[in-house]
Amino acid sequence: MTETMTYREALAFAAAKEMDADPTVFVFGLDVPDHKRIFGSTKGLVEKFGPSRCFGTPLSEDAMTGVAIGAALSGLRPVHVHIRADFLLLGMNQIANVMSSLRYMSGGALRVPLVIRAVIGRGWGQGAQHSKSMHGLFGHFPGIKVGLPTSPQDAYSMLRAAIRDDNPVILLEHRWLYDIEGSVDEQYLPPLPGPVVVRQGTDVTVACTSWMTIEAMKAADVLARHGVRLEVIDIRTVAPLDETPVVSSVAKTGRCIIADYDWLYAGFSAELAARLAHHCFGVLKKPIERIGFAPVPCPTTRPLENLFYPSAVQIIRAVERLLDLDSIDLSQESFYSYEERFKGPF
């Protein structure tokens, strides 16, 4: 039952599987059923399940978030999709004041089995209002689970796990991951998974979220040719956070880089760094390095956008600092740049 598919296909496949298995599951949100299908990630759903289980909405993110909560309270399992995570800021009251707390406030009488999917990541110069990620921010509010699937298998398994979860879950999907192909075992259905070591190494631990895992793997390839072995860990579920796999890794390497796809300030990287600094005290040979967005809104122009986003190059430079290496000549390396592959308009 293992098939090769893209990340976007894995998302659509997972939704279809859950909708097949459970008639209370439905998928909705702006543009969900149009011909573009949220970059293809809801493909086939409206054909197979009809417009009552896969539908668009007015532009009303605040109310639609509440609608999802109300439907979840009524025993349904809504999957609410947003083509940009930035739009979730319009639903923050429902997310942080209502969705996160209804169960607790009711002493356990209520449950909110709701999934919010939102796309993060770079497009064609999207700029400051279409580039936020905010996974740490959502995790800040107790009562919300937050995941960032990286591989097609994760996209498949985590979306299915999120839909089956009786708690609210936010999944953030980096747009550049959508094209990635991988094998997907459709029987693999664990609950929302914790951090996974995606590459073993001995010299430096790189704990990553989302697209940064791909960048870290690239950095690891380059560094391997210079005799440096990175251990790359994909966090996957950032809240609730199980940091123990990272702690174990750092116990081995003594050095750690956190490569997060967000601003550093009070982001997920800060939480993980604070926990690791605590749990790995005395084990760390050097201070933890954090890598993330530059501390400004995202600019649109090419050269500045390239400086804004974290990359394999930054990881390599941080490794050099941690290991006191000379600067590696990277001029012959080719790094991820969807400049070539990724074209506009959106």
């Binding site: 009552s52 509440g66 609608v67 109300g70 009524s74 349904l76 004041n97 002493g107 356990g108």
Partner: protein, 319 residues
């Protein structure tokens, strides 16, 4: 309205009123550590609406929810236990006054943030449609909530999808101390929503019979049109916004005359109505006594009940 119905309605109204009078009496003892937004003057609205809608209809409300909670549950035990922060409360002491709910009786959620349960009700109505059921859903909210964007988004979506949803606007003309004229770019809420595909009706919130009648008529329209409805009910808030006192002395509004007090008090209005229909004062008095007794016992139980233990702090976060 047959005799039994009349007495049942009188009992519910009385239960709400006496429960809140009991809160006023005991609040100063500081055992109820929760902000209370009392319903006095507003009781007839949920009593009337809940009387008309089928039992078990999903309902949503605000922090001013005592009347709605008691109209649906008549359960003063879990009510007072919650106000006292006890484990036996409906939310194990985690809800307090502003977040009462009772899903088993249809009360799905209330909220301390103005307007936030309105879209939840839309979601519950969507769930009805999703399941091809036609049980109506009702959401109660204050006039101030109609200024929040989420009300308009919810109204639009409910109308677009022809949901079986009753919006109940409890209009006391105040948002805390701010009068309607300082907040509204329209002259009436029913007129403001007039451009949407929904049915509307209005009623005097002091008159339980009128509320019942208006709700019935509106619900018939909703069924006929297969569109949502908005019931606008004006009422007089006798007390301060939050807390147990009157606040006419602060000057932002006029104290009512004695006659106005009588006219705007739904309990006085309804008992006069029953008496005029030939109900016997003794019948009503018997209910008063029985209700007071129930409340007194509930408060006693709440007082002697246990607080949640320290472990409870971390419970009820995840399913």
């Amino acid at each position: 309205m047959n005799k039994g119905e009349g007495l049942r309605l009188y009992r519910t109204l009385t239960l709400i009123r006496r429960a809140e009078e009991a809160i006023r009496l005991h609040y100063g003892e500081d055992d109820m550590k929760t902000p209370v937004h009392l319903s006095i003057g507003q009781e007839a609205i949920p009593v009337g609406v809940c009387h008309v809608l089928p039992e078990g209809s999903p309902m949503f409300g605000t922090y001013r929810n005592h009347a709605l909670y008691l109209a649906l549950t008549e359960d003063t035990d879990r009510f007072f236990a919650e106000l006292h922060g006890k484990e036996a409360g409906m939310g194990r002491g985690k809800a307090g006054s502003m977040h009462l709910c009772e899903p088993s009786r249809g009360l799905l959620a209330t909220s301390a943030v103005v307007g936030t349960t309105i879209p939840l009700a839309v979601g519950a109505a969507l769930a009805q449609a999703y399941r091809h059921l036609r049980q109506p859903v009702a959401v109660f909210f204050g006039d101030g909530a109609a200024e929040e964007g989420v009300f308009w988004e919810s109204l639009n979506f409910a109308c677009q999808r022809s949901l079986n949803l009753l919006f109940v606007c409890e209009d006391n003309g105040l948002a805390i101390h701010a009068p309607a004229a300082d907040r509204r770019g329209f002259s009436s809420i029913t007129q403001a929503v007039g451009g949407f595909r929904c049915c509307t009706a209005t009623a005097d919130g002091s008159d339980l019979s009128a509320i019942i009648e208006a709700t019935r008529a509106l619900y018939r329209d909703m069924e006929a049109d297969k569109q949502p409805g908005l019931l606008h009910v004006s009422y007089f808030r006798f007390l301060e916004h939050v807390g147990i006192g009157e606040d006419f002395f602060t000057g932002y509004r006029q104290a009512p005359s004695d006659q106005e007090r009588r006219e705007r008090d739904p309990l006085i209005r309804f008992s006069s109505h029953l008496l005029s229909l030939g109900y016997h004062p003794a019948e009503l008095r018997a209910i008063d006594v029985e209700v007071d007794d129930q409340i007194c016992r509930s408060i006693g139980r709440a007082r002697s009940a246990d607080y949640p233990t320290a472990e409870a702090l971390y419970e009820d976060l995840w399913v």
